[in-house]
């Protein structure tokens, strides 16, 4: 894939300077390769495991006004069934008659099983140092229980199909002062922003690579970040206003991207720069 992008650039450069391009590109390519090697070496000792341990404890801990644990929470495969659940999310849940992603479903369980108010449950979606987010810990553990499971997000229910269509529309929505859409960075093969490779999320290989590696321990953040965070932070950089946690748009976009990733084994929590 990478050689063909270099070929494409050479073909496009109809001017005499074409001969000067290959040297500079090769230098940058070797920088990208070295970073990839470094990332491989980082796989061991992924701090995400610390969040996984906390998440497992939170799942089993009796909390909230009803003093109940989350162990009866139905993530789509039956009450309390965690193994393989993430690989099938988002999905329609009959009890709420809504399509829900993981965080939305966790909020639902925190409210119905544990008695928290929506406001209390969603007080801290993303952690910072000692101010921790339950969703990042629970997300780390629940997704770890889907490691190796082949992505299998079905579009059976009418609302699942609608969510996919809306998510696709949103993916191409250009807006804000920079005219950015998700597609601006994520709809072509072989592109990168600075030295960060950009997966093409509109086609299978890219979507699989992009989606199956979240949540991830972001070294630059020093935190375990979930897919809700990834969408929120993309929109921030796209110069949009703030994406609401577990909003319908976040669920629709997740449905679109998760379904596009079908067929690949889930590979998270991963570690990223």
């Amino acid at each position: 894939m990478k050689p063909s992008s270099i070929e494409k650039l050479l073909a496009a450069a109809a001017l005499a300077a074409a001969a000067l391009y290959p040297a500079a590109l090769v230098h940058s390519q070797s920088a990208v390769d070295e970073i990839a090697k470094y990332r491989q070496q980082l796989q061991d000792g992924n701090p995400a495991e610390l969040w996984e341990a906390r998440g497992e404890a939170l799942w089993k801990q009796k909390r909230g006004p009803k003093n109940a644990s989350l162990e009866q929470c139905d993530l789509g495969k039956g009450a309390g069934v965690v193994k393989g659940a993430y690989a099938e999310l988002p999905r329609h849940f009959a009890d709420a008659d809504r399509v829900m992603d993981l965080e939305t479903r966790l909020v639902h369980c925190m409210v119905t099983l544990q008695g928290f108010s929506f406001a209390d449950a969603t007080r801290r979606p993303f952690g910072a140092g000692t101010n921790r987010s339950d969703f990042e810990a629970l997300g780390a553990w629940i997704t770890a229980e889907s490691r190796g499971v082949v992505m299998n997000v079905a579009l059976r229910h009418e609302k699942e199909k609608a969510a996919y269509r809306l998510g696709e529309k949103m993916f191409y929505f250009r807006g804000g002062p920079h005219d950015f859409a998700c597609a601006t960075c994520h709809s072509e093969n072989g592109k990168r922003i600075r030295l960060q490779d950009l997966p093409n999320l509109t086609e299978k290989t890219g979507a699989q690579l992009g989606y199956t590696t979240w949540p991830a321990y972001r070294v630059s953040q020093g935190e375990l970040r979930t897919f809700q965070w990834r969408l929120y932070d993309c929109f921030r950089q796209q110069r949009f206003p703030e994406l609401k946690f577990t909003s319908d748009a976040s669920i629709a976009l997740t449905e679109f991207l998760a379904h596009n990733a079908n067929g690949a084994p889930f590979n998270a929590p991963a570690i990223k720069r």
């Binding site: 701090p47 610390l50 341990a53 321990y217 070294v219 020093g222």
Partner: protein
């Protein structure tokens, strides 16, 4: 009390390979918060690993070590079933000790 460490120890051909993941902010003391104030230094200053009472690793750390540090080391003489204990102390006097069984 700080979060527990994750320790994995495996014996092969008389050498034990130990991998430890520690939960710690490892604040350098040089960062500033959004108000412009220095965030106080808070980092692990000492790490010790013992096997049957004998020290097999002793380390002095400082602010150069990254947040949530991962440590890997090898030592000779351990057997499957033995316990190893890893202890860290930080510059604020906080301490954490965890043990693991060698695989």
């Amino acid at each position: 009390m700080a979060d527990p460490m994750r320790i994995r120890a495996a014996a092969r051909d008389g050498t034990v390979n130990v991998r430890v993941l520690m939960a710690h902010e490892m604040e350098t003391g040089q960062r500033k918060d959004s108000a412009g104030n220095l965030v106080p230094a808070h980092f692990i200053s000492k790490v010790t690993a013992t096997h049957q009472g004998k020290t097999v690793l002793s380390a002095q750390w400082g602010p150069a070590v990254a947040k949530n540090p991962f440590l890997e080391f090898n030592f000779k003489g351990g057997q499957k079933g033995d316990k190893i204990v890893v202890t860290w102390e930080d510059n604020k006097g906080d301490k954490r000790s965890d043990e693991a069984v060698i695989n």
